[in-house]
């Protein structure tokens, strides 16, 4: 049986095979995290322009009420995760050791925090109305990038979407939130896909799931009704299988043109959490005010999969998981391959926070760096077929312009190069710095 499933696995070339570490939380049902006293909603938690607050300090807000509107088209809305009062609009801690302007909300301890469902019609929307609905719901790509979802569904003249791809690869180690959602809410996921199929005019949909989630593959297949043009594609367990261009390469053996988007091939890729958020918006009228987060790592007392209101400080989430073990030195938001470390546990859960990982010692000790011996492992790891070894050398020499000849801008910063480097060279970090230097000198805003 296992040999048979290997035969029909879809995959791409290159990539790496980190240990999965998913066993700690893979079989734990999603638990609802109770409400806490204070919530912090940073205005810049999506890619694109920051949101503009529409409330002032002192205002009373209901759970799910709009508190900030999009600052531009590539931006989205924010809603209050709780009923309570806006206490301040102030600079608060943000991942990566920096501060960001945020709306601070104090929960009303006497409010029942009930959300009254108000279903919305999704069958009679124009294309523009659908895009606006998604923006009103505040939905972003919930795999980590937090790209406003409605922008993906706004299809320019002359292009059309044939195929909806749902990204259930979850290739980041430790994370099991997408896995649990697929297992626990298959019907809602399929409803979300149906909404997308209907409103984007696509003919079919594929859910890509890595084969380390056989129960999810099985349950989804069982719940798909015969008349639904939806199939499940088992994917080889490999990082970065969940990068959208890799997902398309794996399933359709097509390459999204460099600098292009999936819609150039008539496709749109959506994270499992985002599709569920779409279903929740139309089924219940609930905007994006909570999300599923995997709490794991060797520094957590009680690893869990939690449904957490956005804006909950990490301190409270970790407290709910019985706290941290002694000697924790690193807390990560997101997965260990592309996540961000935090300097403070005051940082809140954001729309793009897929995981909270606590480590007792750094998982990757890169203190002793050796010279590059040109072993070529980074070339064999890079799923975009770049030459990371060369790029790192050019970055060290600050030859940023020359790096463009080596296609630096096609790097998606998946980190496979740094992961695979036996000389402990921080390749992707050097590339990241060089990219922002190049963007700055080009006069573009990053």
């Amino acid at each position: 049986m296992k040999a048979l499933s290997k035969l029909i696995e879809f995959s791409f070339a290159h990539g790496v095979h980190p240990r999965e570490y998913k066993e700690a939380t893979v079989s734990l049902p999603i638990q609802r995290m109770p409400f806490v006293r204070e919530y912090v909603m940073p205005l810049n938690q999506q890619l694109g322009a920051p949101c503009k607050p529409v409330v002032e300090a002192g205002a009373r807000v209901r759970r799910g009420e709009l508190i900030a509107e999009p600052g531009a088209f590539i931006s989205t809305t924010l809603h209050s995760p709780v009923a309570g009062w806006v206490r301040a609009i102030d600079n608060r801690r943000y991942p990566g050791g920096v501060f960001a302007r945020s709306i601070v909300i104090e929960a009303d301890p006497y409010d029942s925090q009930q959300f009254v469902p108000a279903p919305r019609d999704w069958r009679r929307l124009s294309a523009d109305q659908f895009v606006s609905e998604i923006q009103q719901a505040g939905i972003v790509g919930m795999g980590g990038a937090a790209f406003p979802a409605h922008a993906k569904y706004s299809i320019p003249e002359g292009q059309h979407i044939d195929h909806i791809l749902v990204n259930g690869a979850e290739c980041e180690p430790f994370l099991t939130n997408d896995h649990r959602m697929m297992v626990e809410r298959p019907d809602a996921l399929l409803l979300g896909i149906e909404i997308l199929l209907h409103n984007l005019g696509a003919k079919a949909a594929t859910i890509g799931v890595e084969t380390n989630k056989p129960d999810a593959i099985e349950i989804l297949r069982r719940h798909i009704r015969p008349e639904q043009p939806i199939r499940v594609a088992p994917l080889r367990v490999k990082y970065p299988q969940g990068a959208e261009k890799m997902l398309i390469k794996s399933i359709f053996n097509k390459e999204v043109p460099a600098g292009g988007l999936p819609r150039d091939l008539g496709m749109v890729v959506n994270n499992v959490g985002s599709v569920l958020a779409i279903a929740d918006w139309f089924q219940y009228g609930m905007p994006l005010i909570e999300r599923v987060v995997t709490v794991s790592g060797d520094g957590v007392e009680q690893p869990s999969n939690l449904l957490v209101p956005l804006g909950t400080p990490l301190r409270e989430v970790l407290r709910f998981c019985d706290g941290l073990k002694a000697g924790v030195s690193q807390v990560v938001m997101g997965g260990p391959m592309m996540g961000t470390t935090v300097a403070s546990l005051e940082v809140p859960v954001l729309k793009g926070t897929s995981g909270i990982l606590a480590f007792r010692e750094a998982q990757a000790n890169r203190s002793q760096e050796y010279a590059c011996i040109r072993c070529g492992r980074c070339l064999e790891a890079c799923p975009y077929f770049l030459n990371p070894s060369r790029l790192a050398k050019l970055a060290r020499a600050r030859l940023f312009e020359e790096m463009q000849q080596y296609s630096i801008m096609d790097c998606v910063e998946c980190g496979s190069c740094t992961y695979s480097c036996p000389s402990n060279i921080p390749i992707v970090q050097l590339i990241r710095t060089a990219k922002s230097q190049l963007r700055q000198s080009a006069g573009k805003v990053a």
């Binding site: 790496v16 980190p18 180690p173 390469k249 097509k254 390459e255 999204v256 043109p257 460099a258 301190r315 970790l318 019985d322 706290g323 941290l324 002694a326 924790v328 030195s329 690193q330 807390v331 990560v332 997101g334 260990p336 391959m337 592309m338 996540g339 470390t341 935090v342 300097a343 546990l345 750094a362 998982q363 990757a364 002793q368 050796y370 010279a371 590059c372 011996i373 040109r374 072993c375 070529g376 070339l379 064999e380 799923p383 975009y384 077929f385 770049l386 030459n387 070894s389 060369r390 296609s407 096609d410 980190g415 992961y419 695979s420 036996p422 000389s423 402990n424 992707v428 970090q429 990241r432």
Partner: protein
């Protein structure tokens, strides 16, 4: 509920890494060379051991001497100087005067590595630079081969080993030709089993084909080795020499003899595979390997020396930057017509 006292460290992603390090790779290669090294000592006795020690000492002392004082021990601890010294020693005749082996080791590191800017910067394989230096400087000593010593003579040291520096070295009455020398100058073949087991005269580490292959297999399993390089070299040599053998079997040896004689296995498995001096891309690696194979057969068949592995590798080392430039991989999503 201890949340307050944690001091959180920031680090840029990825926060995981695979476990292999460059230091570990060097230790693996040293381990892989051990069987062939021990065989060399078994066949050639204590004299060979002294040659290896002298060569390693020359390499490590030079590395130490020319490293900045604060990073000396760290540079030695990555084992690259030890490995270069050992590799050079294994390509030397067992009766070589020790002072020459020492100078060879110093030249390997000094001219082969340090003047290029240190580890990872050199164009040529350092051990082969040392060997080329010795061959050009001491051509007679470098081409005088000794017969193997029996187990009873293990503790005998070749008189020439102890020759004083810069004096005319004295050679033992007995000397022996290598299998390749016999083939080239006397059209006399050597039995395959002697070649595979290493029971022939030659350089200290090159004689036992079997043990060299064993070391290669270990490196392959540890993923320390690009299999394309030995496969490409040995395949090309076998194919090319078969062609010559079919044309004229009295002058040219057959494929098995070609593969198992001389320094080919040592060179193909342990020297051409030096990642620093071989191309980065798979395509480039094939070009590099086939190039070495063709040059080895050409030099052996038509050159002045009976053996050509060293020059073949050095020549292809020189071509490596060029190969790299023309074999950059096709970037994902560029220049593609989707079906």
């Amino acid at each position: 509920m201890k949340l307050k006292e944690h001091r959180l460290k920031l680090q840029a992603a990825p926060l995981l890494k695979q476990s292999m390090t460059t230091g570990q790779t060097m230790r693996d290669v040293l381990l892989a060379l051990l069987p062939a090294t021990l065989a060399g000592l078994w066949y050639f006795g204590l004299g060979a051991l002294l040659v290896l020690i002298a060569s390693i000492a020359g390499a490590m002392l030079t590395e130490w001497l020319f490293s900045p004082a604060e990073s000396r021990m760290q540079r030695l601890s990555d084992n690259t100087a030890l490995l270069t010294g050992l590799l050079l020693g294994l390509t030397l005749p067992p009766a070589l005067p020790l002072w020459m082996a020492f100078i060879g080791g110093a030249a390997s590191i000094g001219l082969g590595k340090l003047i290029w800017g240190g580890m990872g910067q050199n164009l040529f394989n350092p051990a082969l630079v040392g060997r080329a230096f010795l061959l050009a400087t001491f051509p007679i000593a470098m081409t005088t081969w000794s017969p193997q010593s029996g187990p009873t003579e293990f503790f005998q040291i070749y008189a020439s080993n102890l020759a004083a520096p810069f004096m005319q070295s004295v050679y033992d009455g007995i000397s022996a030709a290598t299998p390749l020398g016999l083939m080239k100058f006397e059209q006399q073949s050597t039995g395959l089993w002697a070649l595979v087991s290493g029971n022939t005269s030659g350089c200290i580490g090159e004689t036992s084909g079997l043990l060299l292959l064993l070391g290669g297999l270990y490196l392959l399993l540890r993923r320390d080795l690009d299999w394309r390089i030995p496969a490409g070299i040995l395949g090309t040599v076998a194919l090319f020499s078969t062609t010559l053998y079919i044309v004229d079997s009295t002058h040219y040896p057959g494929p098995l003899f070609s593969v198992f004689s001389g320094g080919l296995l040592l060179g193909a498995i342990f020297m051409a595979t030096d990642p620093v001096t071989s191309p980065l891309t798979p395509r480039g690696t094939w070009i590099f390997a086939v190039g070495i194979g063709v040059l080895v057969v050409l030099i052996r068949a038509y050159g002045g020396f009976p053996e050509g592995v060293m020059y073949a590798i050095l020549l292809m080392n020189a071509a490596t930057p060029l190969i790299d430039r023309y074999t950059q991989p096709r970037v994902f999503g560029k220049g593609i017509k989707n079906p």
